[in-house]
Amino acid sequence: MSPADGRERARGDVPMDAHWQADERAVHEAELVVDIAGFEGPLDLLLHLARNQKVDLSRISVLALAEQYIAFIESARSIRLELAADYLVMAAWLAFLKSRLLIPQPHKDDGPSGEEMASALAFRLKRLEAMRDAATRLVNRNRLGRDVFARGAPEHIPVERTSAFEASLYDLLQAYASLRQREAVMQVTIERRQVWSLADARLILARLMGGLSDWTVLDDYLLRYVGDPRQRVSAIASAFAASLEMVREGRLEIRQDEAFAPIYVRLGENPMTEDEIAELEARNG
């Protein structure tokens, strides 16, 4: 039903779009069905849990709510459901709230009391629910283009005489943002680092090794070949990987006397022919 549907669920196939109808949602007391994807953030989940208490929101037990939420999060983690950070932050906050509610704090403490924190949470839940209700009422009003219709064939559009041109601030900002975005994207392309692909490295090695039958330090050649110092790291890494492959094929021999010592290469018993090099060139474009 919704795009989130493809997401993996623990169990149960819950229609994500039955948003307002809490009953069908993912948490059931008895059998534990966990579906975080159906919730829009921790507050939404909390509101859902609060509704399950089936009492007026102003009479919910915040303590019980905190427990349920924490239990929910724990079970979600136990089945290795990935949780967004804000769910965990909320769990930690609720655990803290729980401790405040259970262990009365001495008054000198300058943080908010458990009761204050609880009523703040209850307020937020109530406010979110109120906005949900408002949204439902709003969307069910007689809407222009659905229930109520404008003049189908306007004869001419009356204009404020002050400006003959029409544009909204949104149009303006959109134009500016996409203009600047274009410019930004162009900068990114220019800045892109040059990287040697393995195929590039193989071709370059094959060309370099053309007339070399004696042991030669690879780095010297490469560094001479690569003009731009920013390309060196990439060039050496790719060339090294390509050379190992070429050794396996018998096209190169390679030798290193000790760790971090220079790497020597020379032609192997089965060097690349001119034709093979030409073919490589053609393939690399």
């Binding site: 939404d44 909390l46 915040v62 655990a95 109520v148």
Partner: protein
């Protein structure tokens, strides 16, 4: 003499009535011709100077109230719209009305009821980040606009709804938002959580209800709220 006076008055009265009818006709034509709500300023410019636009429009509104097309007020703008009770007869070949995602609708409501509101405040109310593009959708629909900047550090931009929003949802003004007064009365539209907002807590802080287990020091430790055992449990 008295008779003549009487006649004069009569003639004047008749002329006045005729004149008012003419103004009404012009106003009617101006609004009728347009698909968009027409401002009273605009109407005033088109009518002879000194015309009481508002009273003309109110007369027209009353006249059209029972008809298949009604004259509606959107702030200080006016528009003809088909009567809402006829939607059954009209809607079958209606063009698709913009379908809003649940998140977009919720954000729209938060903006409508809390305006002017910043993005951070929207996120505080919904408890979740606003995904990129959702506000964009609402702005593109022409229902939400940048309104200004809050005079607080960082000067965050504030959002508000537009006249098109009112028009689309058939509201004369923001005060017509459903349930606005009750929400205000309940303190639910206040930006801040009122300090005296009180929620009855489970009876007696220490009594656990049926569905609660007592919390143990181990729990607290696990949750990282107490140092590992060995230290005093307070």
């Amino acid at each position: 003499m008295a008779e003549v006076h009487g006649d004069d008055a009569l003639v004047r009265e008749r002329d006045d009535a005729h004149r008012a009818d003419e103004l009404e006709r012009i106003a009617e034509a101006l609004v009728f011709a347009a698909a968009q709500p027409v401002s009273e300023t605009y109407l005033a410019q088109r009518l002879p100077s000194g015309t009481d636009v508002r009273s003309i429009m109110l007369r027209l509104k009353a006249f059209y109230a029972t008809r298949g097309v009604n004259l509606l007020q959107v702030e200080d703008h006016w528009a003809f719209r088909t009567a809402a009770d006829l939607s059954f007869a009209l809607s079958s070949d209606a063009q698709e009305v913009r379908k809003l995602s649940r998140a977009a609708l919720e954000i729209l409501s938060v903006i409508a009821y809390h305006q002017p509101v910043t993005r951070a405040e929207i996120e505080d109310i919904r408890g979740v980040q606003t995904s990129k593009g959702t506000l964009d959708v609402l702005m593109e629909a022409g229902w939400v606009r940048f309104r200004g900047r809050r005079r607080t550090p960082g000067r965050p931009v504030t959002f508000a709804t537009t006249r098109d929003f009112l028009d689309h949802f058939g509201l004369e003004e923001l005060r017509d938002l459903p349930g606005l007064e009750e929400l205000k009365g309940a303190g639910l539209l206040a930006g801040r959580i009122p300090p005296n907002f009180h929620v009855p807590l489970p009876s007696g802080n220490d009594d656990l209800s049926d569905d609660e287990d007592p919390i143990t020091a181990l729990d607290l430790e696990e949750l990282g709220l107490l140092p590992p055992s060995g230290d005093e449990p307070a």
